[in-house]
């Protein structure tokens, strides 16, 4: 007899909807989380804890990745790859290892995918060097679950009509928008004169108290901070706390799953994990759900070899870990000097706390004479520059020629940066095309603190990503110009943002070209499901979290039916 109906590896946005749905139905669920179980009582506005020490993530000495990055081309014009352990480079690919996962630390910019994101290949045709495919499900299949997330996780916003608006089954968001910053008025005016449509950005943030979760306190420190009130829709605050209250969901923190055992029939029988004392333990269950964020999910399945799965679970057609996705695009800033404004306006611009909540999707599909045909575009989000003061001050210690500055000169520079201006920022999100140069494998030499092989990640990108990213960035800059921002600066690169990762276990109809079927069940392991962002064959041109939540609720319903 299995000890549990369902064993879930991971506890974030992909895991928590499954734990919530099944424990509410009375099924026994165990959640294995590698990190600690932190709560609202542990989250303070502490820059050291959030962003300058490895508190919510492992020390890179204990657990790391090996990153394979471009290293020029060889004589034949082929790309060369150089691999470097992240303990050497300091390039951190962890995003939040604690109960609730990285959803504790997200900004909660919540976007649905649009219908077109489900059939990019049919709509835009093939792109050389990219493995773009249509999804095995349509927007309509996911829509009820997007709505469910609005209710259960808590999404605030307001619906407006625009040309790429997604169809909705409900009239409006269940929660009104959070309070907006005074700079928004200027943004909206600028967009109006440019004939762009300024869109309110939905947020996974409660504007007022709901049940045991308090509303947002507008402290001004949200993204990358744990929420002290429970307003932010983390998987922990929104779903797992309720799941635990049912009495049917057990969460084991400090439980690092390192291998899934499979039996002679190829089904998963046990999860093996190290507890906080480093002691290896086993848990049995009828069904196993893996959701420990894209890179680690692929890593765990690759490491879980068995009689029927010599290359790893769900890897009998050698697709596991392939077609890893990040979010392509870039970012930029513009500055507003208080001396150029009235005193009153200056005070308004200085404010910290209220949100910008504005974005542009006018170019979600680009139709421009510059390009021979229409192409997939993306989203531009606008926000205030992050308030972390230490990080900001420390970035000012270099002069324009890259020399270190100190003494009075440094103090003047820091004082001016902090007191004379507000910095407005934009971020561009467009599709990171799936390619053969972006994938997860196991590293042969580097081990984690328990002696397991770490994930090796090749982070190649497609040049097309930069074409689209640059196009959108130029549009974003026109808004900055219209707002009369100074020192407008932007950058588009193929550098992967480590917190926006998906793919590696894409779902699809054909086992030869996918890892999971349309139910997110492994093609070749009947009791194994993957519910984090790994299932996505293409990423859409928005942050993934809402889609991960929605799909996990969809899969939870599928599992519910078979239990």
């Amino acid at each position: 007899m299995a000890e549990y109906d369902v064993c879930i590896v991971g506890s974030g946005a992909g895991a928590s909807p499954v734990a919530y749905t099944l424990s509410k139905m009375g099924f026994s669920v165990v959640v294995l989380e590698k990190g600690p179980w932190l709560t609202e009582n542990d989250f303070y506005k502490d820059e050291l804890a959030c962003c300058r020490r490895s508190v919510y993530t492992p020390s890179l000495q204990d657990e790391q990745h090996v990153i394979e990055d471009y290293d020029g081309r060889d004589k034949n014009g082929q790309y060369k790859w150089a691999s470097e352990a992240t303990s050497k480079s300091g390039w951190d690919f962890w995003n939040g290892n604690c109960v609730g996962g990285s959803s504790n630390f997200m900004s909660g910019f919540f976007y649905r995918l649009k219908p077109v994101d489900f059939y990019l290949r049919s709509e835009f045709g093939p792109i050389d060097g990219a493995n773009v495919v249509d999804w095995p499900i349509q927007y309509e299949d996911l829509e009820p679950y997007y709505s469910k997330v609005e209710q259960l996780v808590g999404v605030s916003g307001r619906v407006v009509k625009h040309k790429f608006a997604e169809p909705r089954s409900t009239k409006d968001f269940p929660y009104p928008p959070t309070i907006e910053h005074p700079i928004v008025e200027h943004f909206d005016k600028a967009c109006e004169s440019l004939r762009y449509q300024s869109l309110p950005t939905p947020r996974a943030i409660l504007p007022h108290t709901v049940g045991t979760r308090r509303g947002c306190e507008y402290s001004g420190y949200c993204g990358s901070y744990g929420c002290s009130t429970g307003a932010k829709g983390s998987g922990r605050a929104a779903l797992l706390d309720d799941a635990v209250r049912t009495g049917h969901c057990k969460i084991i923190p400090y439980a690092k799953v390192y291998k899934l055992d499979s039996n002679n029939k190829g089904a998963v029988s046990h999860a093996n994990y190290y507890d906080e004392n480093g002691v290896s333990k086993k848990i049995s269950a009828k069904i196993f759900v893996v959701a420990c964020q894209a890179i680690e999910t692929s890593r765990l399945l690759l490491a879980s070899t068995g009689v029927k799965h010599p290359e790893g679970l769900a890897n009998n057609t050698n697709q596991l870990g392939k077609n890893l996705l990040f979010s392509a695009g870039g970012s930029g800033t513009g500055e507003f000097y208080y001396k150029d404004m009235s005193r009153q306006q200056g005070e308004a611009f200085k404010r910290r706390g209220p949100f910008i909540n504005r974005g542009l999707q006018d170019w979600y599909v680009i139709k421009d004479k510059k390009f021979s045909s229409h192409l997939k575009g993306g989203t531009i989000d606008f926000l205030l520059s992050h308030p972390n003061p230490t990080t900001r001050a420390d970035s000012l210690k270099w002069d324009d020629s890259g020399k270190l500055v100190w003494g009075e000169a440094l103090k003047q520079k820091v004082h001016a940066a902090f007191t004379e201006k507000q910095r407005f920022r934009f971020e561009v999100f467009n599709d990171w095309l799936p390619t053969d140069d972006c994938f997860v494998s196991l590293d042969n030499t580097v081990k984690d603190q328990w002696g397991s092989a770490v994930a090796k990640v090749r982070v190649g990108y497609h040049d097309h990503d930069l074409v689209v990213g640059k196009y959108l960035t130029q549009k974003a800059e026109t808004v900055m110009q219209q707002m009369q921002a100074k020192n407008i600066n932007s950058s588009v690169s193929g550098s992967p943002p480590a917190n926006l990762v998906a793919g590696g276990c894409r779902f699809g109809k054909d086992p030869q070209t996918s890892v999971l079927n349309h139910d997110c069940q492994a093609h070749d392991v009947e009791n194994l499901y993957v519910t984090d962002g790994s299932f996505m064959p293409t990423g859409g041109s928005v942050p993934y979290t809402w889609t991960i939540y929605a799909n996990a609720f969809r899969v939870a319903d599928i599992i519910k039916k078979r239990l």
């Binding site: 990190g35 600690p36 303070y44 506005k45 502490d46 820059e47 050291l48 804890a49 300058r52 020490r53 508190v55 020390s59 480079s89 300091g90 390039w91 951190d92 630390f105 900004s107 402290s219 001004g220 993204g223 990358s224 400090y254 906080e276 970012s331 910290r352 926000l383 520059s385 992050h386 308030p387 972390n388 003061p389 230490t390 990080t391 900001r392 420390d394 970035s395 210690k397 270099w398 324009d400 890259g402 020399k403 270190l404 003494g407 009075e408 440094l410 103090k411 003047q412 820091v414 902090f418 007191t419 920022r425 971020e427 600066n489 950058s491 550098s495 943002p497 480590a498 917190n499 926006l500």
Partner: protein, 225 residues
């Protein structure tokens, strides 16, 4: 928000800060640090006896007293890098000593979770600094006047490793200036006041310092006595 958090000063030093999460949490330019250690070995020969002893003395006693070396020297370097100035726009402007930058640095380097290699790097750098000071003037750094100190720091910053040493010290000075006062720096919120910085809330209480949040780290603290 997007997180391009490659913790590499060189690559990102002139770009804006990424939004979601910080740049160099613990900028580790390991290769240049190793390079630095090589150079230090060569310079040790020319160093005075006391400087050599200072550099080698890493026992707990010397780590915990600011009146001892290498802390006396580091404190003077910090004040030179971040001096108290009478006014900026007619506002008082705190220096490294006003914000207890040296006490803060000691606290951080004492933690069981501290990066031992970085601690060694910071302490060995004092030996190197005094080696250069002695070569230039025949005196250790703390005996020099302001202009001489500036010349010595300019000299060491000309090498990548020396610049990295100073950059590391500045990173900790900025933490002492702007991290929550619960960590021992930012005395009476002087740093926040000077920069008109609006801090977030709630602020961390004494029993929720970052190293108290993870069980493993607490266990390490207990073992260290």
């Amino acid at each position: 928000m997007k997180k391009f958090n490659k913790k590499d000063n060189k690559r990102y030093r002139n770009s804006w800060e990424p939004c979601a999460s910080s740049l160099p949490a613990n900028s580790k330019l390991l290769s240049s640090r190793r390079h630095f250690f090589k150079q230090t070995t060569g310079l040790m020969v020319g160093m005075s006896f006391s400087a050599t002893v200072m550099a080698k003395n890493k026992s707990k006693d010397s780590l915990s007293q600011t009146s001892n070396e290498p802390w006396l020297t580091i404190s003077e370097v910090q004040e030179h890098l971040f001096p108290r100035t009478v006014t900026i726009n007619n506002l008082p402007s705190p220096g490294a000593k006003d914000i207890n930058a040296i006490g803060y640095l000691q606290t951080m380097l004492h933690l069981p979770s501290a990066d031992k290699e970085e601690t060694d790097f910071i302490i060995k750098g004092v030996g190197w600094l005094n080696g250069v000071a002695n070569n230039q003037t025949g005196k250790p750094f703390i005996k020099l006047n302001d202009k001489q100190r500036e010349r010595v720091l300019k000299k060491i910053s000309a090498s990548e490793a020396g610049e990295n040493w100073l950059s590391t010290l500045i990173r900790y000075i900025f933490e002492a200036l702007l991290a929550d006062p619960v960590y021992g720096g930012n005395t009476k919120q002087l740093g926040w006041q000077w920069l008109k910085h609006q801090a977030g809330y709630p602020q961390p209480p004494k029993n929720k310092k970052y190293w108290m949040l993870k069980r493993k780290l607490i266990i390490k603290d207990m073992y260290s006595g």
